[in-house]
C-alpha cells in the first residue's frame, strides 16, 4: 500500500506521466508510419534502422548547428533516405521484404556505431542548451496533469498526427488507394492506381515520421547518441500496429501502455522497490509479448501482405 500511495503522490505521478508521454512519442510516430506501409501491403522490418539513423543524423546535425529544428529535419531526411532505399529494394527490385528489412536493420546498427566510434572514439558528447519543450501557459501549472502540458513540440505533433492519419487512411482517396494496394494490387492497378507510387509514398511518409521519432529520441528525450539506442523500439512499433489492427485511432493506447512500462522502469527504480533492476527493465518487452498473445491472435493481414507486386 505504501508503494501505491507513493506512486500516486503528486510529484511522482507527474514525473511518471511525463515520462510515459515522452517514451510513447517515438513509438506513436514510427507506428503511424508503419500503419500506412503495412496497410499498403509492405512489411518494413527496417523500421528500427529508420529510427536509429534518424537518431544518429539528428544528433550530428544538432551537435554541429546547435539548432534543434535542423536536427529534427536531418532526422526526417535520414528516415526518408532509408525509406527510399528500402522501397527501391522491395518495390522496384522485389527483394524479399524480410531479408531486405533485416539487412537494413543490421546495416544501420553497424553503420551508426561505426561512425560514432570513428567520430568520437569512446566519448559520448552531449548536445546541450537546446530544448524544444513547450509549456502551455496555465495548464502546465495544474496539479497532477501538469506534465501533459509540458512536453516537447514533437510530442504535441505526434498527438495531432493520429487523428489526421486516421482521416487520411480511412476518409480520403489516397488512403483508399493505400488500402486497395495492400489488399489487391492487381485490382487497384486495373482501376488506374499506381501501385508502385502509392507504396513509395507510404514509405516516404513513414521515413519522415520514423526519422522524426528517432530524432526525438536522441535530441529531445535524451541529448546524446549511444550504440543501438532505439533498443527494439522499431519492432515494438510494428507490434503496436498489429495490436491496433492497423487503425491509427487505436495506436495511442498501445503506445501509451508501452510508455507506462518504459517510464516505470525508471519510476520503480527511483521508488527503491526491492526488485532487481533487470526485471524492471524487461517490462516493456514482456508487456509486448503478453499483449500480442491475448490481442493479436490470428490477425487478419492485408491480402497482398509482404508480397511484391508484379505488373502483368
Amino acid at each position: 500500500m505504501g508503494i501505491l500511495r507513493l506512486l500516486f503522490s503528486e510529484p511522482f505521478f507527474v514525473v511518471l506521466l511525463g515520462g510515459t508521454l515522452t517514451a510513447s512519442t517515438p513509438i506513436i510516430l514510427a507506428a503511424a508510419g508503419e500503419d500506412f506501409v503495412e496497410s499498403g501491403g509492405v512489411l518494413n522490418l527496417g523500421l528500427e534502422g529508420m529510427l536509429l539513423l534518424g537518431s544518429f543524423c539528428a544528433f550530428i546535425a544538432a551537435l554541429l548547428t546547435e539548432n534543434i529544428y535542423l536536427g529534427l529535419l536531418a532526422g526526417m531526411a535520414a528516415g526518408v533516405i532509408v525509406g527510399l532505399v528500402f522501397g527501391y529494394l522491395v518495390i522496384s527490385l522485389k527483394v524479399n521484404q524480410i531479408v531486405a528489412g533485416l539487412g537494413i536493420e543490421i546495416f544501420v546498427v553497424g553503420l551508426t556505431s561505426l561512425l560514432h566510434r570513428v567520430l568520437f572514439g569512446n566519448t559520448f558528447p552531449v548536445v546541450s542548451e537546446i530544448t524544444s519543450k513547450t509549456a502551455v501557459p496555465f495548464f502546465s501549472s495544474l496539479p497532477y496533469v501538469s506534465s501533459i502540458f509540458n512536453q516537447h513540440l514533437v510530442t504535441y505533433i505526434s498527438w495531432a498526427l493520429l487523428p489526421i492519419a486516421w482521416w487520411v487512411l480511412y476518409r480520403t482517396n489516397f488512403g483508399l488507394n493505400v488500402r486497395a494496394v495492400g489488399e489487391n494490387p492487381a485490382a487497384a492497378d486495373a482501376h488506374g492506381v499506381n501501385v508502385y507510387r502509392t507504396r513509395y509514398i507510404a514509405l516516404i511518409f513513414e521515413g519522415v515520421l520514423a526519422g522524426l521519432g528517432g530524432a526525438f529520441l536522441s535530441i529531445c528525450d535524451l541529448a546524446f547518441f549511444v550504440f543501438h539506442m532505439t533498443q527494439g523500439r522499431g519492432f515494438i512499433a510494428i507490434a503496436i500496429v498489429m495490436l491496433a489492427k492497423r487503425n491509427p485511432a487505436n495506436l495511442f493506447y498501445w503506445a501509451f501502455l508501452f510508455g507506462i512500462c518504459h517510464s516505470l522502469t525508471f519510476g520503480l527504480q527511483i521508488l527503491g522497490l526491492d526488485v532487481p533492476r533487470e526485471f524492471i527493465l524487461m517490462l516493456p518487452y514482456v508487456a509486448v509479448i503478453v499483449l500480442l498473445c491475448f490481442l493479436a491472435r490470428n490477425t487478419r493481414l492485408p491480402g497482398a501482405f509482404c508480397t511484391p507486386y508484379e505488373r502483368e
Binding site: L93, I106, F107, G110, L115, F279, Y285, V286, R297, T307
Partner: protein, 345 residues
C-alpha cells in the same frame, strides 16, 4: 552435383560479397581510411597469421552450430531472428551448471551434459514464440526479438546475483579450469567445438534432404497452403523447426562457454545471429555450402576484431559489410530470379 551447377549457385553469393566489399571500401574512403590498406590488414591479420587462422577456426564453431538451426528454421519458412537471446540462455545455463558437475563427472560426460543443458535452454527460450506462432499465427519475428531483450536482462540478473562467483568484482560464473574445457583437435590448437559445428550442419543438411520431416519442412517453407492441403501438420513442423533452431543457438552458447570463455561473464553478448543470418542466406540455406562461407565469416570477424584492437577501423565495420552482403544477395537472387527455391513468405 555437377561442377557447373555449383558455379552457378556460387555466382550470386560471390557477386554479393564483391559488391559489399567494394561498397565497404568506398565507405572506408569516406570516413578517412585507406581501403586497400584496411583490407590488406584485415586479410593478413585474419588469414595471414597462425593466430588468426586458429582463432578463425575456433570462431567457426558457434557460427556453424547456429547456422544449422537457422537453416532448418528458414527452410521451413520460420523467421527465428532471436538467436542472440537463445545463445545467451544456453551460455548462462552451461556456465551456471558447470561448477556443480565439474568435479563429479568424467570429462566427456561433463561436456555432454553441458551441451545438452545449452541446447535445452535455447530450445526452452524459443517455446513461447514457437507456440504463439503455431497456435495463433502471431508473428515470430517480433516475439523472438522481444525475447532477445528479455534474455539480455535475465542473464544479466542471473550472473549478477545467483550465479555470481565473485560478488563485488566483475560478475561472472565460476571459471572452468583450462584442463576441464573442451580439448583440442589432435595436432591443432582448435577445440573440438569445430567438429560439433561440422556435425551440426551436416545433420541439418541431411535432415532436410532425406528425412520425411525434412520434406515437410521444405514443403511448408515453399508453400504453406499447398503443404496444408497435402496434409502436412504445419503446427508440428513450426514447433520442431523453432525448437531445433533455438536449441542449436543455445548449444553454440554452451560451446563458447566450454571452449573459449570458461565462464559466463556479465555484458557478454557476441551477437553472432547478426552474422549468421547473412551467412546462411549466402549459402542458400545449404548445410554443406555453409561450411566454407562460415570460415569466410569467421575470418572477417576475427580479422575485424584484431584490426580494431590495433586501434584502427572499429569492429563495427565487419557488421556493416555483412549486412551489405545480405542485402545484395537478396538483390542478386531477384536479378537471376526463377532460379531454384523460394524462401516462403
Amino acid at each position: 552435383m555437377g561442377a557447373e551447377k555449383i558455379v552457378r549457385a556460387a555466382a550470386g553469393p560471390v557477386i554479393a560479397i564483391s559488391v559489399a566489399v567494394s561498397l565497404g571500401g568506398i565507405l572506408l574512403l569516406i570516413i578517412g581510411f585507406n581501403p586497400f590498406r584496411t583490407y590488406y590488414e584485415l586479410f593478413s591479420l585474419g588469414m595471414g597469421t597462425y593466430l588468426g587462422v586458429t582463432e578463425s577456426l575456433k570462431r567457426m564453431a558457434p557460427l556453424l552450430i547456429m547456422s544449422a538451426g537457422l537453416i532448418i528454421a528458414f527452410r521451413s519458412g520460420i523467421w527465428n531472428i532471436g538467436g542472440n537471446g537463445q545463445f545467451l540462455i544456453g551460455a548462462v545455463l552451461a556456465g551456471g551448471i558447470a561448477p556443480l558437475l565439474m568435479d563429479r563427472l568424467p570429462l566427456f560426460l561433463f561436456f555432454a551434459v553441458l551441451g545438452c543443458a545449452g541446447f535445452i535452454g535455447g530450445a526452452a527460450w524459443v517455446t513461447i514464440p514457437a507456440v504463439l506462432k503455431a497456435k495463433y499465427e502471431i508473428n515470430e519475428i517480433i516475439v523472438t526479438l522481444m525475447m532477445d531483450f528479455i534474455a539480455i536482462y535475465l542473464t544479466a540478473y542471473l550472473v549478477r546475483y545467483p550465479l555470481n562467483a565473485q560478488p563485488g568484482l566483475f560478475p561472472q560464473t565460476v571459471l572452468i579450469p583450462i584442463e576441464k574445457r573442451l580439448p583440442n583437435i589432435p595436432l591443432t590448437e582448435v577445440h573440438i567445438g569445430l567438429i560439433v559445428g561440422l556435425i551440426a550442419v551436416v545433420f541439418a543438411h541431411y535432415l532436410i534432404k532425406i528425412t520425411t520431416l525434412g520434406y515437410e519442412i521444405r514443403f511448408s517453407g515453399e508453400s504453406r497452403k499447398a503443404a496444408l492441403y497435402a496434409g502436412v501438420n504445419i503446427r508440428k513442423v513450426v514447433v520442431i523447426a523453432m525448437l531445433l533452431s533455438g536449441g542449436f543457438a543455445g548449444l553454440a552458447g554452451a560451446n563458447d562457454v566450454m571452449g573459449i570463455k570458461g565462464a559466463f561473464q556479465a555484458e557478454w553478448n557476441p551477437g553472432y545471429a547478426y552474422s549468421v543470418i547473412p551467412l546462411v542466406f549466402l549459402s542458400r540455406l545449404n548445410g554443406i555450402a555453409v561450411i566454407p562461407l562460415a570460415y569466410f565469416f569467421s575470418f572477417l570477424s576475427i580479422g575485424g576484431e584484431f584490426m580494431s584492437r590495433a586501434a584502427e577501423v572499429p569492429v563495427f565495420f565487419v557488421q556493416v559489410i555483412e549486412a551489405l552482403m545480405l542485402i545484395f544477395f537478396g538483390v542478386s537472387e531477384q536479378i537471376r530470379k526463377r532460379g531454384g527455391f523460394s524462401w516462403g513468405s
